[in-house]
């Protein structure tokens, strides 16, 4: 009996060890600068605490191009502090990537938690829509503001979303610091897009949730 108990305990320990190995988080790339504003009620992510993202406002040249350009996630501060994608890349004064087709993503397989985070954002939008009869509309900053309390009941729908952070321009950003793109299809249908690990929108490693 005692011998069987020892074997059972050993098997259990091995199983637990295996689960721990599988669920262990991968190392987070380093960032510089102060952490962006975390959504109220949500603890800053481990990456932000140890490697905070900058939250610098866009410069004057980018202001003339409008917040829409910033939606593409290209403040100079963020650009300078994050790992550059491989291949020749020219970033112009409004933050446009001028040869996105030539950029090779560092990783073509975004981690699972990134998908979960994008889904969580989509779910938050759906909850807003269910509460108020239609999804929030507008730019990323306008939608984020609506989700974050600027609504008839002052509800904060993005509380509790893993890693949810807002940059200095009021945009909800993904774990790589790029503002999400919200594609408004209808009052109840919103496509949420993350630019993925290469931080370039509209290419193969984007994470899209409808």
């Amino acid at each position: 009996m005692r011998h069987r108990h020892k074997i059972a305990i050993a098997v259990l320990v091995l199983i637990l060890l295996g689960v721990w190995v599988l669920l262990r988080q991968p190392p987070v790339p380093p960032h510089e600068g102060p952490a962006p504003e975390a959504v109220s009620g949500t603890a800053p992510s481990a990456a932000a605490q140890t490697n905070p993202l900058p939250a610098q406002p866009v410069d004057a040249a980018q202001t003339t191009a409008g917040a829409t350009a910033a939606t593409a996630g290209r403040s100079q501060g963020i650009q300078a502090s994050t790992p550059q994608p491989a291949g020749p890349v020219t970033i112009n004064s409004i933050g446009a990537v001028e040869n996105p087709a030539e950029v090779k993503p560092e990783s073509s397989t975004p981690p699972l938690e990134a998908h979960i985070a994008v889904e969580a954002v989509r779910n938050a939008i759906q909850k807003y829509g269910a509460a108020f009869g239609g999804n929030p509309v507008g730019t990323n900053a306008e939608i984020t503001k609506a989700l974050n309390g600027d609504n008839p009941t002052h509800s904060r729908f993005i509380e509790g979303i893993p890693g949810a952070q807002i940059d200095g321009n009021g945009n909800l950003i993904d774990q790589w610091g790029t503002p999400y793109f919200f594609h408004q299809l209808s009052a109840s249908d919103m496509e949420v897009r993350s630019a993925g690990p290469d931080r370039i929108m509209w290419n193969g490693d984007d994470i899209i949730v409808k």
Partner: protein, 469 residues
């Protein structure tokens, strides 16, 4: 004496209020419908032929690159914001010179050579900054939420519906084209097909209270397919049954199918004379829009055989939702004169020119007016790869009756956070869809006294006739 009801619970109150609200909404729709019926009785004195052709640019056209200011300071403003991804070089623009210049000059996208030709012939006119509005609104009112705006701005499906109903602040039940058809149906009591014909499938624009849209393909009436052998034999037996001797359900089914088959046969017979590829001297482009507009031209030619005095057509060209790939980028250099948007505008340009030439060949140039609609405009600054959802946009009207060679509406100030901007280069419309549509409806034959029946909100705006036709 009326005693107001007392409510013991919140649930009872909500139930009563909901019923009252529904009843009120239903009542307002009923009143509008009754007015429509009464108005129709006064609209029977029409003897000529006219047709409206609605061209829907699906996805939201970037009209900021359709028509561009060319005065040095204004062009520089345009270029500084749209460069490098979207700004079209000044030297590439096709200049147009309005007959009544208001101090501005403009150029068309280089893919629009056909449109420039039509503008020069006074058969084409741009109407600036048109969009869905509940009522007139300024930038400060928009930012302070002081005035109601259409619900679900920047949402594809909702804005498409609101463009086609022209009543953004009420649930969609009918389109303004359908309501016009309801009003004018009595002018052609022996019409062999519906006044409203679609080449692009079901649409809200042509939904009426009584008139149903008729769907036609680019090769003619949509025939029954896959009905052969035993299935065909069975169908023929059904159609051959004496309707008076069978039950109501069977009779109804037989009647519908019988009518559909008969209408298709009539229509295909009426357009048979224009089947030759060289019937129209100016060839139509072999693309989506060209094929649709060719069939519309053939249906217009067949109008006398079909006993039509009024026709409303709907066609569509998709692909305008260019968040990326709007312009061509080669070796890292954007070329806004090429790319997806250039292709789409080129398709509009060639199809419009061919269609107008076809109408002239039929001596119906003054009787057919074509106009564009779209979900919305697009943001003025680029997102790095294309443009995003906007609001107000510039549209085109074409035809011999159009007072072309001029521009209409108010061109927006091209400045981010300027007086016409919501904040990110989305122009606040200065012309409402109601006004745009009411102008077309008036030309089509809707009496001005009936405009408020078709367009219940039009009275909120300064004018119901913009004067472009």
């Amino acid at each position: 004496m009326n005693v107001p009801p007392t409510f013991k619970t919140r649930r009872q109150f909500i139930r009563q209020a909901a019923c009252a609200a529904l009843g009120t909404w239903a009542l307002s729709n009923t009143i509008r419908d009754l007015r429509l019926i009464n108005a129709a009785m006064a609209q029977s004195n029409i003897s000529d032929y006219k047709a409206l052709v609605c061209v829907f640019m699906q996805g939201g056209n970037d009209s900021n690159n359709l028509i561009i200011p060319t005065l040095p300071a204004e062009y520089q403003n345009y270029a500084s914001i749209r460069s490098p991804v979207l700004a079209i070089p000044l030297s590439a623009l096709l200049p147009i010179n309005p007959a009544d210049p208001d101090g501005h000059s403009f150029g068309l996208h280089p893919a629009c050579t056909g449109l420039r030709t039509l503008f020069g012939e006074n058969k084409l006119a741009p109407v600036f900054n048109v969009g869905t509005l509940v009522e007139p609104i300024t930038r400060s009112q928009y930012l302070s939420h002081g005035v109601a705006v259409p619900p679900q701005l920047f949402s594809h499906a909702d804005q498409v519906t609101q463009w086609q109903t022209s009543i953004p602040d009420q649930p969609p039940t009918t389109g303004w084209g359908g309501r016009c058809a309801d009003l004018l149906a009595s002018v052609q009591p022996t019409a062999k097909i519906s006044m409203t014909v679609t080449l692009a499938g079901a649409n809200t624009f042509e939904v009426g209270n009584t008139i149903s849209q008729y769907s036609v393909s680019t090769s003619g009436a949509i025939a029954l397919s896959g009905v052969t052998g035993a299935r065909l034999s069975a169908l023929q037996q059904i159609l051959g049954i004496d309707e008076a001797q069978i039950n109501l359900q069977t009779a109804a089914y037989a009647n519908v199918v019988d009518q559909a088959v008969a209408t298709g046969t009539i229509l295909n017979g009426a357009i048979a004379g224009t089947a030759a590829t060289n019937y129209f001297a100016t060839p139509f482009p072999n693309n989506t829009l060209g094929s649709q507009m060719l069939m519309i031209a053939r249906l217009i030619q067949a109008a006398p055989a079909l006993n039509m005095k009024r026709q409303i057509f709907f066609c569509e060209i998709g692909g305008y939702d260019l968040h990326s790939g709007q312009t061509q980028i080669t070796n890292g250099v954007p070329d806004p004169t090429q790319g997806s948007h250039a292709v789409l505008l080129g398709e509009i340009s060639t199809a419009f020119l061919a269609f107008q030439r076809a109408m002239e060949q039929l001596n119906l140039s003054d009787s057919v007016t074509t106009f564009t609609v779209s979900d919305f405009g697009r943001t003025f600054p680029s997102n790095g790869f294309g443009s995003d959802h906007g609001w107000g946009s510039h549209h085109l009207v074409m035809g011999g009756a159009v007072k072309g060679g001029n521009t209409y509406g108010t061109f927006p100030t091209l400045a981010i956070n300027g007086p016409d901007d919501t904040s990110t280069g989305r122009w606040i419309p200065t012309t409402a869809v109601d006004q745009y549509a009411a102008t077309l409806a008036t030309w089509f034959g809707v009496d001005p006294s009936n405009l408020s029946t078709i367009f219940p909100n039009v009275g909120r705006f300064a004018s119901s006739n913009l004067g472009f036709v």
